[in-house]
């Protein structure tokens, strides 16, 4: 352990801004959108007061924000941008551009639902719609994790084995606008953990190269190379987390954090801040002798298929709580998880719980009902594959 951190009482948005300052990016390019706004405002203030020596580009849209970040990354700059919801979708065209060009841009996405109807609160429809963009995606449970993952994101994304952009997701308002005690790492420790970005993947007058070229018939090999490198990411995440723990004393369980899963008859899988509620309910139900467990899916890309299959092979019923819905089928996380679980010999009964759309609260009572339904499924009770939490469907 190095220098101790400093306890600060800040919001999730501010935690991300502080983490960005600690990571010393060269270029920030962003357009404000609720509920990400506070993050980019704070960073703008840091650049203004000189505490972050960086170029801040006030662009006219999210599409331009990512395009400008791509340009900066193309000359070897460490870059940051942030967005949310409609902004992420407006930016969508540029996401595969960045991942294909292998620029390790780090972006914060404040999870917010999509219009229409217009709404401001949180669900995961925005980022999950971009699973296929070639970006790494992590989902955070609290402000501390968001801060730590921004710092780790640069290390993982910029690793020469990885060279893949990284999206750090945190739930809008629930995390971005609530205040928590956060351990703010010392700058010298972050500098030790995260050295300056050096890469050969850049334009250079002394060593001319071309970026964002056409490939035509070789397109497939370029894309498969991305896939092969993405498969190395779980190992890099493990290495980086171990080193992070050594310096800062915190770790988050890799791709999937398991909580009371070992002997559980029913396990619920969650993403993001709702995990906190599930954790409290698991604690309460365990006190009553009910064998329930929880798995927090942290990374959606690369997808932790082996970890999820491992948990599934050890339980009788598995629930996936989706804060999204792919209209016409089921929850997106469920589709991914079930594809992983169907590999195993005797899969558990799987139920997709869809809730919290547009920011509707998922209460402890809702959570208890979810676990009760899972326990019934574990006892062999049949029922609907897709169930809606606290919603009127008739």
């Amino acid at each position: 352990m190095g220098m101790p951190g400093r306890k600060v009482f800040i919001s999730g948005d501010e935690a991300v801004a502080e983490a960005v300052r600690l990571a010393r990016p060269n270029v920030i390019s962003a357009y404000p959108i609720t509920p990400q706004t506070v993050t980019v405002e704070r960073i703008s203030e840091f650049v203004e007061d000189g505490s972050l020596k960086a170029e801040y580009l006030h662009v006219e849209s999210e599409h331009s924000a990512m395009s400008a970040a791509l340009g900066a990354a193309a000359v070897g700059a460490r870059t940051f941008t942030a967005t949310s919801s409609q902004g992420l979708l407006y930016m969508a065209e540029t996401l595969p551009y960045v991942s294909g060009a292998r620029f390790p841009i780090v972006m914060m996405n404040a999870n917010r639902t999509l219009a229409t109807p217009w709404a401001l609160l949180s669900d995961h429809r925005d980022s999950l719609s971009q699973l296929d963009s070639g970006w790494i995606q992590v989902y955070c449970e609290n402000a501390q994790e968001a801060m730590d993952m921004i710092i780790q994101a640069y290390r993982i994304a910029e690793d020469p084995r990885v060279m893949t952009p990284f999206m750090v997701n945190l739930d809008g308002f629930i995390l971005t606008h609530t205040y928590e005690m956060v351990d703010l790492p010392a700058q010298e420790n972050v500098d030790r953990f995260l050295p300056p970005y050096r890469t050969a993947n850049r334009m250079d007058l002394d060593d001319p190269k071309t970026v964002c070229y056409a490939a035509l018939d070789d397109y497939m090999e370029f894309h498969l190379k991305q896939e092969l490198d993405m498969r190395k990411v779980p190992g890099v995440i493990e290495e980086v987390e171990l080193e992070f723990k050594g310096i800062f004393g915190r770790s988050y369980g890799g791709l999937v954090e398991k909580y009371c899963c070992e002997d559980a008859e029913a396990v619920l899988m969650t993403l993001g801040s709702v995990t906190g509620t599930a954790r409290a309910v698991v604690d309460a139900m365990r006190m009553e002798g009910k064998m329930v467990g929880l798995a927090k899916i942290r990374f959606m890309r690369p997808f932790p298929a082996a970890e999820i299959a491992g948990i599934a092979g050890n339980t009788k019923a598995m629930g996936i709580l989706d804060r999204d819905l792919s209209v016409g089928y089921e929850g997106i996380v469920f589709t991914n998880a079930r594809s992983a679980v169907c590999e195993i010999e005797s899969p558990p009964r799987m139920i997709n719980f869809i809730g919290g759309l547009g920011g509707r609260n998922i209460s402890k009572e809702d959570m208890r009902q979810i676990f009760d339904q899972l326990m019934q499924a574990a006892r062999g009770e049949q029922g609907e594959r897709v169930r809606f939490v606290n919603a009127r469907c008739e």
């Binding site: 020469p160 050969a200 993947n201 190269k209 071309t210 970026v211 070229y213 070789d218 090999e221």
Partner: protein, 103 residues
């Protein structure tokens, strides 16, 4: 003319040999003169070498390394921007295959 060479693309032996991002320069692998319907022709007598065509050409095919400006027809797509922008009317567009009737 001092112009880049077209180098035949050698497919990497393994997927490992594909670049991760930036590619080395000098990998022009094909000419695209076949796209052209009209070709720009410079009247060197009228040309005042203002280099406006050199600046506006989207494909960078105007060569200024010699005494007169020259066009690298291997890469000219015949868009006509140079002729449109030329202030002294020194560039005319001629239909490919025609015997010189200016368009």
């Amino acid at each position: 003319m001092e112009r880049p060479l077209v180098v035949k693309f050698k497919r990497p032996d393994s997927i490992r040999d594909y670049p991760c991002g930036a590619f080395r320069v000098g990998t022009l692998v094909q000419e695209n003169s076949g796209w052209r319907v009209f070709r720009p022709v410079i009247d060197t007598g009228k040309c005042i070498k203002c280099l406006r065509c050199f600046l506006v050409c989207p494909d960078g095919v105007i060569d200024k390394s010699g005494e007169d400006l020259e066009i690298d027809y291997r890469f000219c797509k015949g868009c006509g921007v140079c002729a449109y922008e030329c202030k002294v009317g020194a560039i005319v567009m001629m239909r490919e295959g025609d015997d010189g009737n200016a368009r």
